[in-house]
Symmetry: C2
Subunit: 116 residues, 2 copies
């Protein structure tokens, strides 16, 4: 199992390598709450996070938004009452990149350290 | 044409009146950028707002989140790079209520006053 939460995002270009099926499966096996969303144009790593109210969900939205700005890699964030859904993928390669494993892991870590 | 931006949200109960088809059509006729989304469980008033980058989109997300908290009525907010999609509906009546016209108008007004 690779610990992606300690890794750093690298700039992603159009010819960057796509994550392999085996890398995706390995990530999902070790991150049970995440799943591969295929109801969108390109596959995404997605997870829903539950909260007691809207304002806590808003706080988490801002924490992940700030992470995205720091890393220069941006997810889609669906903010609803008591729920935030985060989806990571790499637009430039229209697929998943190792950066998406890294940011998903960091998202998970921020949730666990601040909201659990 | 009713100016909903000056109205105030009332508490919405399960037996509150649903918006009529004619009220919905009237609202949409006078708010061209909004549309009735039907790809969800209950119909929603939805609009996409474009921005130059992620951080401006995040700012708008927070402005609308703060509005939602003040009014005690919460939309879904999809935050992406350069785009925010806002959807208003009334969970309690599983439909649209006059509150959704009011909050959609206030959303529009906040966008126009701060980002246009």
């Amino acid at each position: 199992m690779i610990d992606y939460s300690n890794k750093i995002c690298e700039a992603c270009s159009v010819d960057a390598p796509k994550a392999t099926q085996s890398e995706i499966e390995d990530f999902l096996k070790n991150h049970n709450e995440w799943y591969l969303a295929t109801d969108v144009e390109f596959p995404q790593l997605r997870r829903e996070f539950k909260f007691n109210d809207f304002s806590t969900a808003q706080k988490f939205t801002n924490i992940i938004s700030d992470l995205a700005e720091e890393e220069g890699h941006h997810p889609s964030i669906l903010l609803e009452y008591g729920k935030v859904t985060i989806s990571w993928w790499s637009h430039k390669i229209q697929s998943l990149h190792v950066n998406d494993f890294i940011l998903s892991s960091k998202t998970e870590e921020l949730y666990n350290s601040k909201f659990q």
